[in-house]
């Protein structure tokens, strides 16, 4: 069930209301421009570790991040630059993680997509897929126990992650506890190189919602305004106490698994299908129809300036120093064991 908001891009926004087009448009442009830059930096050998991009997934991801409020919890996966920016992660933090600055939230101890900032409500993912569902559920249980009301947790997954036991256990637990958890699945056709027909046998992942006893929402992940509407609806349903929400966006990853991968295994018919549309182009077309081509171009130029400034700033920052690192994995007093073997 794909929800489409045909014509939404043609109507002008009302005064005094957040313009979803500007909000989402700027967010997905910032993500795309930043990720294009990251790809270039990777090829220039400037990146520490791998680069994993979310091209083609910006609308679904960004709409999720933008649907949240301050005080909510966001646990992104690897293709959620747009969601992170939409939720308020500073662009410099992304670059600090990729360029290895010691000023980043992970201080060089972890990097790239594994960054997070618990003080901002951004949980740093671990690489093991599905693990963040139960973790966000735990944060929400804690908030409930503390009497904090009206908070929502949103976490992202891909079609591959839905095959893990963790995904199942986490969603089931959240459903049993009726937690305000939104799980956004980007069904992007491939888990690394494995196509969805080798990943699961059901027709549509959103059909699983009923089995878990949660509300399900399917959306065309290439249609930005449909993503905006569905994600806002799902987040509000969770906020008003309707329990976990499963959102499944159909789209295509428009890049390799990481920048080391050319994605040559992606079938041509997938690329030319509706799934293969680039959500940024869809948005740009809509802006043209509204006569807002100049605004779109302006947002793009602003994003380019922001990215260049952030890269310049972070490039001048100090890198981690092994002699200043305290090499302690626990916080307990008296725990500093000297491991002779090391």
């Amino acid at each position: 069930m794909a929800i489409r908001v045909a014509g939404a891009l043609e109507s002008k926004p009302k005064k005094g209301v957040v313009d979803p087009i500007e909000s989402l448009g700027r967010t997905i442009l910032r993500a795309r421009v930043l990720e294009d830059k990251l790809g270039n930096l990777y090829r220039a050998g400037r990146i520490v570790g791998g680069v994993y991009l979310g091209k083609g997934q910006e609308a679904l991801s960004g709409a999720g991040g933008l649907a949240l409020r301050k005080g909510d919890i966001f646990a992104p996966l690897i293709r959620d630059m747009a969601g992170r920016l939409g939720f308020g992660e500073p662009m410099v933090d992304a670059l600090r993680a990729y360029l290895g600055s010691r000023l980043g939230p992970m201080k060089g101890r972890d990097g790239n997509i594994h960054r997070g900032d618990l003080t901002r409500g951004i949980l740093p993912m671990i690489s093991h897929l599905g693990a963040m569902l139960s973790t966000v559920a735990g944060v929400l249980v804690a908030k409930r126990m503390k009497g904090e009301k009206g908070r929502v947790g949103l976490t992202c997954a891909g079609d591959g992650a839905t095959s893990t036991g963790s995904f199942h256990e986490g969603l089931n637990l959240a459903a049993v506890e009726r937690l305000p958890l939104v799980v956004v699945v980007a069904d992007n056709g491939y888990a690394y190189s494995t196509s969805r027909d080798r990943q699961f046998a059901c027709e549509d992942l959103v059909d699983r919602a009923k089995g878990y006893g949660v509300e399900g929402h399917g959306v065309d992940g290439t249609d930005p305004m449909a993503c905006w509407r569905v994600l806002h609806h799902a987040v509000e349903r969770a906020r008003e106490g309707a329990g976990p929400q499963l959102v499944v966006g159909k789209l295509l990853r428009l890049c390799g698994h990481g920048e080391h991968d050319d994605g040559s295994y992606v079938e041509k018919k997938m690329k030319s299908s509706e799934r293969g549309r680039d959500c940024l182009k869809v948005m740009e077309e809509g802006m043209k129809k509204r006569g807002q081509e100049k605004e779109w171009q302006g947002w793009r130029e602003e994003a380019q300036r922001e990215v260049e400034e952030a890269v310049a700033k972070v490039s001048a920052e100090p890198v981690p120093d092994p002699f200043e690192e305290d090499w302690r994995a626990t916080q307990s007093a008296g725990m500093a064991e000297v491991m002779v073997a090391s």
């Binding site: 201080k107 671990i126 139960s134 559920a137 944060v139 503390k146 963790s166 307990s332």
Partner: protein
């Protein structure tokens, strides 16, 4: 009135729930039923909403605790049996254990593991998991051997800012008794000399402490004074107390109920060999369970694990050198 090892664990949880609103308990059947071993008996009634039944989802149970800990709570997760914690290993080893290192923010949680063998329990209800958890940085691993330690160390575990694996031994649950709950505690992370001796040091932990003491009594009749050291906490390992004991005795036998490949007893021997080689008058020796899954039949089980008889034989062997 006597207090069992299990009473101590229940009482410690009750005290923590009473004293600290951040504490809650999550596990299979821990609610009104009171847990498979009754370690949470009556707690759900006394603390409504804070002793919660979980689905049979060990991975999600631990993941939930990680999230709650990040949000400032002090969750206690009860695994029904230590063996089942393998299903939750990923969340414990890769998530809970890495959180402080990666983020600088604490992840205070306790994973309670009903551990160790009992007659007739078989391969999947008898395991000792301390070696696996100790191998990973970022986790404290406690292995209490006495009623007093079960109580004071569990309270400590709940207060620590780090993830703690609390290995409580099922064989001690009902049979090990004390007069009353303790009023003082051995300092955190310190080993304890259970029985002083001058001829040989036997380092062990958990239920094996009682087997080692029995073996020491047997050797006392033969004229040997065995010093028994209870590690109490295997990670971090109190190397200082172990080396000080070996300095007195010159000989070492390290005993563990878990399997022989690696683990706490291997770590003790490795540290004494590398840091205290010149203290030794004989090659240090280890004694562990046999390298097979844990047998079901009591006849086989009794031969699989170290016992007082096997420990006494091991001690004599090192003494004869």
């Amino acid at each position: 009135m006597s207090v069992t090892y299990l009473d101590a664990i229940r009482s410690a949880q009750e005290k923590a729930l009473r004293d600290d609103p951040r504490v809650f308990i999550y596990g299979q059947d821990v609610g009104r039923f009171g847990g498979a071993f009754k370690a949470t008996k009556n707690l759900a009634e006394k603390f409504p909403g804070r002793v919660m039944d979980s689905p049979i989802s060990e991975d999600a149970m631990v993941g939930m605790a990680v999230g709650a800990a990040m949000e400032g709570m002090r969750p206690i997760v009860e695994m029904q049996f230590a063996d089942f914690s393998t299903v939750g290993l990923n969340q414990m080893l890769n998530h809970a254990a890495t959180t402080f290192w990666r983020t600088g923010k604490p992840c205070p949680m306790v994973l309670r593991l009903p551990s160790g063998g009992t007659p007739g329990s078989g391969p999947f209800h008898s395991q000792s998991m301390e070696a696996i958890y100790s191998h990973y940085p970022g986790i404290v691993v406690m292995t209490p051997a006495t009623v007093e330690d079960a109580y004071t160390m569990l309270l400590e575990a709940i207060e620590l800012p780090d993830p703690v694996v609390f290995c409580e031994h099922k064989l001690l649950y009902y049979h090990l008794k004390s007069e009353a709950l303790p009023e003082s505690a051995v300092p955190a992370f310190r080993a304890r000399v259970v029985r002083a001796g001058r001829d040989i040091t036997c380092v062990t932990y958990s239920a094996m402490v009682h087997e080692a003491v029995a073996a020491a009594e047997e050797l006392a009749e033969e004229g040997y004074e065995v010093e028994v050291v209870d590690l109490r906490t295997v990670k971090p390992l109190d190397t200082d107390t172990v080396l000080a004991s070996v300095a007195r005795t010159g000989r070492l036998l390290a005993v563990g109920e878990s399997w022989p490949w690696g683990g706490a007893s291997a770590e003790v021997v490795a540290r004494v060999a590398s840091e205290g080689f010149e203290l030794l008058d004989a090659p240090p020796k280890r004694l562990n369970a046999k390298d097979t899954p844990i047998p079901y039949h009591p006849n086989l089980w009794a031969a699989h694990r170290p016992t007082a008889v096997r420990i006494a034989a091991g001690l004599r062997e090192v003494l004869r050198y």
